[in-house]
């Protein structure tokens, strides 16, 4: 049993890593080269099927779909990394602070998390759009804000299991303050849990960016985005159903890859968690 589950987790790591690698490679390559210029329109070539010139066909402006998918990967990754990074830094800081101080501060941080969870994320993102206007920055802030309570809770919960340990007591006896203990002993010990969560949050962020861009409040044209492509494809669904398929597949590859990578990392970094599941 152990053997097969270890085999499965190694497979998750490799398959997940491979899929994520493909998406990152597509984004990186698109910086230097794409099959066609991303914003080049050719109305005479609109809504074509796959061919040698246009591997996945063209959209309603005659833009090359394969090119748009590659450039769209860039948008997803940039929005995801910044949004999750934002939530990670603020959330982890609040979480370890709550765990170190306890008392009213802990209570305050956790109740704030509860309130954030009570407001539907999509609605808050739309509210934010009414305030900041549509655009990638709005999507980043909206997704980032909802990552804060997630990381705060995880960091707090993990830190609370570290604080009663003997090596913390030893550090205290040695005269270290709460801040130094958190930095030198708590954070390194909860890093793997946070890394795994970050991978999963990245997947959720890609889904969220796609949904917001689909609704028209995330990435704005002509910047390429998978969600935006799906929105436009829906209008031409009767004429060119393929347009509605490829961007979705790209999202699935990215999200599936990140989730598998997260699962594999969890098993590789923390064998105790792997057995518990």
């Amino acid at each position: 049993m152990m053997g097969s589950s270890r085999g499965a987790s190694t497979a998750s790591l490799w398959v997940g890593g491979g899929l994520v690698g493909v998406v990152i490679a597509a984004a990186l390559v698109s910086l230097a080269w794409t099959p066609h210029p991303p914003t080049a329109m050719a109305l005479s070539e609109r809504l074509q099927g796959p061919s040698a010139v246009h591997w996945l066909g063209t959209d309603h402006f005659g833009r090359d779909v394969a090119t748009l998918l590659m450039a769209g990967a860039r948008t997803s990754i940039v929005v995801g990394v910044i949004a999750v990074g934002l939530g990670f830094v603020i959330g982890v800081a609040l979480g370890v602070l709550a765990a170190a101080r306890r008392g009213w501060l802990d209570e305050l941080v956790m109740r704030l998390c509860d309130i954030t969870f009570a407001l539907p994320a999509v609605l808050s993102a739309i509210l934010l759009t009414a305030w900041l206007g549509p655009g990638p920055a709005t999507a980043i802030v909206a997704i980032g804000v909802f990552n804060i309570p997630v990381f705060a809770r995880i960091a707090r919960g993990a830190a609370l299991t570290i604080w009663p340990r003997e090596f913390i007591l030893a550090a205290r006896v040695a005269g270290k303050g709460a801040f130094r203990i958190t930095l030198e002993h708590v954070l390194p010990n909860i890093a793997s849990v946070l890394l795994v969560q970050a991978t999963i949050q990245f997947a959720i962020a890609i889904l969220a960016e796609a949904a917001l861009s689909y609704l028209g409040i995330g990435t704005q044209p002509p910047a390429p985005s998978w969600g935006r492509m799906l929105n436009e494809a829906q209008t031409f669904m009767y004429l060119a159903p393929g347009l509605a398929v490829y961007p979705g597949l790209a999202i699935v590859i990215a999200v599936l890859g990140l989730n598998l990578l997260g699962d594999g990392l969890r098993d590789a970094l923390d064998p105790r968690l792997a057995r518990g599941r």
Binding site: F117, L127, T129, W131
Partner: protein, 315 residues
């Protein structure tokens, strides 16, 4: 039980109070003047100023907050600037679409997730288990709105079994109305079912190793009966927790899916209210969403006590 109930009710009231404050402040800082929205961009500044006074917009924020919350508690929701109808009726009309949609989706989610989860747990490590786990992994990665588009492509465009969007209305008969909700509900349920199936599987696997399961078998229950009667019941605490969280996700997912299917539900209303700067309506709709989420969490807390009597003692 009563102390437990009072404690939970107080938490519920406090959370809603905090949520209403947050919503009020957020809507306060939104750009846009309701008086100008009503009168249009060409309106005479004096008329705008007069309307601001009439709407009570010149009063201090604290007074307006109290007037809003006080009105809500008295069942007075105000009038929508853009629809020119009482908001209470508007919300009720839209809830009549979103609530059935969420309920059907939740029922689908539960049915799929419990059967798949228990099936996989009972055959842990088998090909069937691996297949269920692979499918759920895929289900979690599929964006709900994209799955919705694929459903439209297949069942509306190709086969013509269901409408591609819009709502027939309850007046058109229950059958026609439900037909417009089938595809959105399936799209909503997919991701949630995938998550819940994974939770159910691990919860049931944990319970399978417990002593009382051996006792149940020893007293002569079949493996199947022991699994469903004792195993699932004890795994339910974890399952119900996740279901509570999922209901919140479901209402949020409804906002996106109502846009995919052009369903005139609460989510679409919220979306339109915000883009049209109908701030009074925005406040009420967003708060209504928060009320639904908080109320469901409250019900989940009560359900814990029903499923697992030990919860009451520790509360």
């Amino acid at each position: 039980m009563s102390a437990f109930l009072v404690r939970r009710l107080l938490t519920l009231a406090a959370t809603l109070l905090a949520a209403s404050l947050v919503i009020f402040v957020v809507v306060e800082v939104l750009p846009g003047d309701p008086a100008r929205t009503i009168l249009g961009p060409e309106a005479d500044p004096e008329a705008v100023a007069a309307l601001r006074v009439r709407l009570g917009l010149e009063r201090p924020p604290a007074a307006r907050y109290l007037a809003w919350v006080g009105g809500l508690l008295g069942g007075e929701f105000g009038v929508s600037y853009t629809y020119h109808v009482p908001i209470g009726g508007l919300l009720a009309e839209r809830l009549a679409i979103t609530l059935p949609l969420a309920a059907v989706a939740m029922a689908l989610t539960t049915a799929i997730a419990l059967s798949a989860g228990v099936y996989a747990a009972a055959r842990r490590g088998s090909a069937g288990d691996v297949a269920v786990m692979a499918l759920t992994q895929l289900g979690i990665a599929v964006p709900g709105f994209w799955f919705a588009i694929l459903l439209i492509l297949l069942f509306a465009v190709e086969l013509g079994w269901f409408p591609a969007g819009g709502f027939a209305g309850w007046d058109a008969g229950i059958g026609a109305a439900l037909r417009s909700l089938v595809l959105p509900a399936i799209a909503l349920a997919l991701v949630q079912a995938a998550i819940l199936a994974r939770v159910t599987r691990s919860a049931v696997i944990e319970v399978l190793d417990e002593d009382f399961m051996r006792t149940a078998r020893a007293k002569g229950l079949s493996r199947r009966a022991a699994l469903w009667r004792h195993g699932l019941r004890n795994a339910l605490v974890a399952v119900v927790t996740v279901m509570g969280l999922q209901f919140a996700n479901l209402t949020a997912g409804a906002v996106v899916l109502e846009n995919v299917f052009a369903l005139p539900g609460l989510g679409r209303l919220a979306f339109q209210a915000i883009s049209q700067r109908d701030l009074q309506l925005v406040r009420d709709v967003v708060l209504l969403f928060a009320v639904v989420v908080v109320a469901v969490n409250f019900l989940v807390d009560l359900l814990y006590a029903v499923i697992d009597p030990r919860v009451k003692l520790s509360a």
